[in-house]
Amino acid sequence: MEKSLVYLQGPDGKAVQAELWDDISAEHVAHWTDSWKPEIERFRQRLEKDGVAREKWPQDLHWDWSEKADATRTVLAYQRFALVCEGRLQGLMLVNLVTSTGRLAAQQGKPLVYIDFVSTAPWNRPDFCDKPRFVGVGSVLIRVAVELSRAEGFRGRIGLHSLSQAEKFYRKTCSMTDLGPDTGYYKLTYFEMTEAQATKFTSEPPKK
């Protein structure tokens, strides 16, 4: 397992160095179990206690990274990433290299990096807390997917199905093409990034 250095934005707007790991280790899973999971559970209980309607709850509350890591550990088609900053796990991403190909006419049938799941720690999320600790975890991980796509010879092409609450991020922040709801996949909106969009996305400073 190897790490590289990336930068997140701290609460004061300053860049903070973070470690990007090219796999999700048992230690990362333990961090998720010990720090993310209890916080998510407390948040879920608060939503329940406050009587917040289920459709307004964050749609990824049930994601279990321990299960996802276990199920994909030995499968070459999956690549897993963990982002650590100040000794704490800040983000996780699971991508697949073989199950999806391009849907946009310009890249129809060509391989791409399909982002199965991407998460940021509860303390970085504005839907969980008033003052997120770090900004840019999602953008950094999307850039990682683009770089992986390039390294694999896929020219920066990536694709994903988005939960409705995250659509704005992929549409505005990542400037991906919205191909509309996919009736073959829970009616989730499918987004794709072309080589040209990837070049633009990675050459510009991260958007908030």
């Binding site: 190897e2 590289s4 090219d22 030995t74 499968v75 070459l76 088609a77 290299l97 073989v98 199950t99 049938g109 060509k110 391989p111 390294a151 694999e152 010879g153 896929f154 020219r155």
Partner: protein, 70 residues
């Protein structure tokens, strides 16, 4: 990021031709096509060992046929 090791691959003319066609069609180099094939084969093999089946569906007729792997 991961260290890579080199191997020699012996292919027949037909296999090399198929590899070249796939590489051209998928806009990949031949090494990546082979790597993709291995990833796919391993994933399918694992799913089948878990008791799952692989089907091919005709987009128009919706007819499904099971794909048998050795």
């Amino acid at each position: 990021m991961t260290n890579k090791r080199t191997m020699t691959l012996n292919l027949s003319d037909a296999e090399m031709s198929a590899l070249e066609v796939l590489a051209e069609k998928k806009d990949l180099n031949k090494t990546v096509v082979i790597r993709q094939a291995l990833r796919l084969y391993q994933m399918v093999d694992q799913r089948m060992r878990e008791g799952k089946k692989l089907f091919i569906e005709d987009e128009l007729t919706k007819d499904k046929s099971e794909l048998m792997f050795i």
